[in-house]
């Protein structure tokens, strides 16, 4: 009997504490989108509780070889997001997540869930090195069946390739190819934890850019301005360029270097002003800024086109008004800003470091992040008119995708009277300078007697 293998999402109904399958996936429809550099899987699952007890949560998972590649997981019922936590199942080496249901699932009832996964680095360039003339082919190794601790009665899978030039794909019947899609299934009665490799080797010329390091610096000022600066190290991690780069062919032939990246679009907050785009050696002049109604769209062109294996580095900065992000009541302030922002569509960030610089005199600082982040040690930053230094909160996270764009909340206390400290410093400095000059010009350091004499003589004359 040929077991059909399911891809990533599998809905499993688990009775708390027991590994028995009391849930059955009645119907699973999976759509795998591998037209960009990320693999986005969305499953529409109908689950039935065939046990006798009410269930509060379910479990789903991915096969072992995809565990490290999973970047982002969500589960929704209708429009409501459910809480998803990572979990382990004894005896199984895949990656599993537990979904907490909003309302308990009574025995005999069914529930429809949407489970979405985003996988990064699941598309491997194959061959790993191509010349400038060739197209980029990637290999996707997934799972045909739902990887689930429960039995699946019916499952169908659609793979969205974005192109119709496919070198090879796993012939797991029934399968058909149409347009840019591959249709697998429907598969009947799939046992739990069923795995069968879904290997698709196809052409994918979308940008395979990885941001190896993104450092986001948010500097908050209570005078009404928040300055954001992002330092980005970006690398093309598709098939590396073999041989020479011919500028002639690149300019003349439109198909030459088709997998290289010439420019990308970054969306900044709508109120961003004073945008600058520079790097180590100066300002980069090749960029276009368009102010739209809901965002500022910046089309950034790196100094040179990025071919496989090439990297570049730039710094992007802008100012936003603080009334949009900083809220306060009395002495308690709350900063609500995005932990990371959009760099380009379908992006993948290997390492993110976000630093928030608060004004001097802030204390009792609490950070609430939307997902698990590593909080680094607080440091001090010294800049204009600082005496003690400004507190810097740093967080770090790895393997992020666009879906991770979310707000964090930073709560702190700041005595409003401390805002006077900065102008007071300047005033005191000037005051001291002027007083010093006033005193100095009235001092008399003359040594010789002539001056004194002449002064005395003059006084005599006046008399």
């Amino acid at each position: 009997m040929s077991h059909t293998r399911l891809l990533f999402l599998s809905f499993v109904i688990v009775v708390a504490g027991s590994a028995q399958a009391d849930l059955v996936n009645k119907n699973v429809e999976t759509v795998v989108d591998i037209s960009s550099q990320l693999a986005k899987i969305s499953n529409k699952v109908t689950v039935e509780n065939v046990g006798k007890t009410t269930l509060k949560s379910l479990i789903f998972g991915v096969p072992a070889h995809l565990k490290e590649r999973t970047s982002f997981v969500t589960a929704k019922v209708g429009e409501h997001l459910l809480r998803v936590t990572e979990t382990k199942l004894s005896g199984q080496d895949g990656g599993f997540w537990k979904v907490d249901l909003r309302s308990d699932l009574a025995a005999g009832r069914t529930l429809q869930l949407n489970i979405d996964l985003v996988l990064s680095r699941a598309l491997v360039p194959h061959p790993g090195q191509i010349t400038q003339k060739e197209k980029q082919l990637v290999l996707f190794e997934g799972n045909v069946y739902f990887y689930s601790p429960y039995l699946t009665e019916k499952q169908s899978l659609t793979v969205n390739l974005g192109t119709n030039s496919v070198e090879s794909y796993a012939r797991i019947q029934p399968v058909s190819q149409s347009d840019n899609k591959l249709n697998y299934g429907p598969y009947e009665k799939v046992p739990p934890f069923q795995e069968e490799r879904l290997n698709i080797h196809y052409e994918n010329n979308s940008p395979f850019l990885t941001i190896t390091r993104l450092e986001r610096l948010i500097e908050v000022s209570h005078w009404g301005n928040i300055a954001v600066e992002e330092t980005v190290d970006i690398e093309h991690q598709g098939a590396t360029l073999k041989g020479s780069f011919s500028r002639y062919e690149y300019q003349r032939e439109s198909q030459s270097g088709i997998s290289s990246v010439k420019s990308f679009r970054t969306a900044l907050p709508a109120s961003a002003v004073d945008v600058y785009y520079r790097d180590d050696i100066g300002n980069i002049s090749t960029s276009h800024m368009r102010v739209l109604s809901d965002s500022v769209e910046l089309e950034l062109r790196p100094r040179f086109p990025l071919f496989g294996g090439w990297k570049t580095h730039y710094t992007l900065g802008y100012n936003v008004p603080s009334y949009e992000y900083l809220f306060n009541q009395g002495d308690v302030f709350v900063l609500k800003m995005r932990l990371m922002d959009h760099v380009f569509d379908d992006m993948y960030i290997e390492h993110l470091i976000t630093k928030i610089i608060l004004p001097e005199g802030c204390h009792s600082i609490e950070l609430t992040a939307p997902y698990a982040v590593e909080r680094l040690k607080d440091t001090l930053h010294h800049t204009y008119l600082d005496t003690k230094g400004r507190p810097v909160i740093s967080v770090s996270k790895r393997q992020l995708v666009e879906n991770h764009i979310d707000d964090f909340e930073l709560r702190y206390n700041f005595a409003k009277v401390l805002m006077i400290q900065e102008p007071l410093l300047v005033i005191t400095a000037f005051f001291a300078l002027f007083v010093l000059v006033i005193i100095y010009v009235r001092l008399d350091f003359s040594i010789s007697e002539e001056e004194e004499h002449s002064r005395v003589d003059r006084e005599h004359k006046d008399k």
Binding site: G243, S244, F245, S246, R247, Y248, R252, D279, D280, I281, G282, S285, T286, R303, F304, G309, W310, K311, T312, H313
Partner: protein, 497 residues
């Protein structure tokens, strides 16, 4: 020189003595603190004159001191003896030092100042620098404008009232104008004294005429002043006064107005020159396209940044020495030669590599252990300071040392003696490494409408050698407008059986 002149003209005094001694001692010691300068002020012959004058100062003061204390005849004897003794000692010491080599002989740069054609004949590297060329009249006017005319006037005013300071100005002005005429870069030396002398001239002239601008109160003052002169002068000037009396203030006002106009135009000229010629960086070029929009050529930074990001950290880049500093600063890679390289043989070796055929050049590049080669090519955009235009200097410098003896400049010219890159060009030129690197794949590019492919916009010719392949190099990166071309040196081929 100034102090020497003062001594000769008899103006030497305690003031000058103190000033010069302080300046010389402190200045030399402070200059020697800079590691680059080191002990040169006491060793190299260019500084000998200053040392000599210093010694002479001491002697002069000593002599004056003695003169005050000895009787006349004793003094004469002692004076003569001292002069003879000192002269002999100096000659002997200098001779010994020069022979043993402690004191280095005059350097090439110095010789080229005295004899402008020295560099061209003997040291091509010094001759190749464009700032070392003799100054043209147009560049004098471009840099100085009004000061060119005020300079002689300033000299005249200085001569009228000879004081210590004026003598200094005269000497400085005359010597620096000679040197500025030899080398363009010495215009810098000329600038301050030009300004000073121009200012003296201007203020002298304005002083003279400003007094005449106001008509009425002068009437009383004039006769009194003229009475002090001789009778004849008195009559004449009274005449002059009476006859020119009406026009004097008008002429004066006119003159002052003209001077003001000159000064204003001078200011405007200076600001324009500074903004156009001395402020625009040549690292980012811009041009106006046919529809008057600005095109920016940021190729240099693009290529250097590519080098910085996409080559191994220890990669070595070979290029002509003009770009050495730029590559070090922006691309952060090791280079072979830059503006500060003193080793003529090394630069000559790079020149030989650029001017030889591919095989010979490969041997030189392996010897120098080069990973990447960088050339500047302006044929697509019309940028005229590119490496093909500098190529003849590379040939001259390459052929100026022993190992480059096989490189002869006339091999690269056509039989008629022209430097051409089209079909008529010399085959040595059409097959040398620099040519191949600049024009690789260029033969198929259409640069201008109505011209054949491979038309070089700077040389104004269709290139001669079009379809060739590179054996030992691989094109690593070419910038957007083909201004910078970077090639990777291929490894030795795997020799299998």
């Amino acid at each position: 020189m100034h102090v020497f002149t003062l001594m000769v003209t008899g103006r030497f005094g305690a003031r000058v003595y103190v000033a010069y001694c302080t300046l010389y001692c402190l200045g030399t010691i402070l200059a020697m603190q800079i590691s680059f300068v080191g002990f040169q002020p006491v060793q190299s012959s260019e500084h000998m004159l200053a040392l000599g004058v210093f010694g002479l100062c001491q002697l002069h003061c000593f002599v004056d001191y003695l003169r005050g204390h000895l009787s006349a005849s004793d003094f004469q004897v002692l004076f003569k003896a001292t002069i003879v003794a000192t002269g002999t000692i100096l000659a002997v010491i200098t001779g010994i030092l020069t022979i043993t080599g402690k004191v280095s002989p005059w350097t090439g740069r110095f010789y080229s100042l005295l004899d402008p054609s020295y560099a061209k004949n003997h040291i091509p590297i010094i001759a190749s620098v464009s700032e070392h060329q003799p100054t043209s009249w147009s560049s004098f006017y471009f840099d100085l404008q009004l000061l060119v005319f005020l300079f002689p006037a300033g000299l005249y005013f200085c001569f009228r009232q000879l004081t210590d300071a004026n003598i200094f100005l005269i000497l400085y002005g005359v010597t620096s104008i000679y040197f500025a005429g030899v080398m363009v870069r010495l215009m810098l030396v000329l600038a301050p004294v030009m300004c000073i002398l121009g200012g003296i001239a201007m203020s002298g002239m304005l002083n003279r005429y400003m007094k005449d601008v106001d008509a009425s109160p002068v009437i009383l003052g004039m006769p009194a002043g003229n009475l002090a002169q001789g009778k004849q002068g008195d009559k004449r000037s009274k005449h002059k006064q009476e006859s020119n009396f009406v026009m004097k203030s008008e002429i004066a006002t006119l003159f002052v107005a003209i001077m003001c106009f000159f000064l204003i135009s001078y200011t405007m000229h200076c600001t324009w020159v500074t903004s156009e010629a001395y402020s625009s960086p040549s690292i980012v070029l811009s041009a106006r396209s046919h529809d008057n929009s600005r095109i920016i050529f940021d190729d240099f930074r693009e290529a250097y940044y590519w080098l910085r990001m996409n080559t191994p950290e220890d990669a070595r880049v070979m290029s002509w020495w003009d770009y050495g500093y730029q590559i070090t600063a922006m691309a952060n890679r090791t280079i072979l030669v830059d503006n500060n390289t003193w080793n003529n043989t090394h630069i000559s070796r790079v020149g030989q590599a650029m001017a030889s055929s591919e095989d010979k050049a490969y041997a030189i590049m392996r010897e120098l252990d080069v990973n990447y080669v960088l050339v500047i090519f302006g044929g697509l955009t019309g940028y005229s300071s590119d490496d093909i235009n500098k190529f003849l200097w590379m040939v001259r410098i390459g052929g100026s040392t022993d190992r480059g003896a096989h490189i002869k400049e006339w091999d690269y010219y056509t039989p008629q003696g022209e430097f051409r890159v089209d079909k008529e060009g010399s085959p040595t030129l059409l097959n040398c490494l620099m040519y191949k690197m600049c024009y690789y794949r260029f033969g198929q590019v259409y640069t201008e409408g109505g011209r054949p492919p491979g038309y070089d916009r700077v040389r104004g010719a269709e290139i001669g050698n079009k379809d060739f392949e590179l054996d030992v190099l691989e094109e690593a990166y070419t910038s957007e407008h083909w201004l910078v071309r970077i090639y990777k040196v291929k490894d030795l081929p795997n020799r299998g059986l």
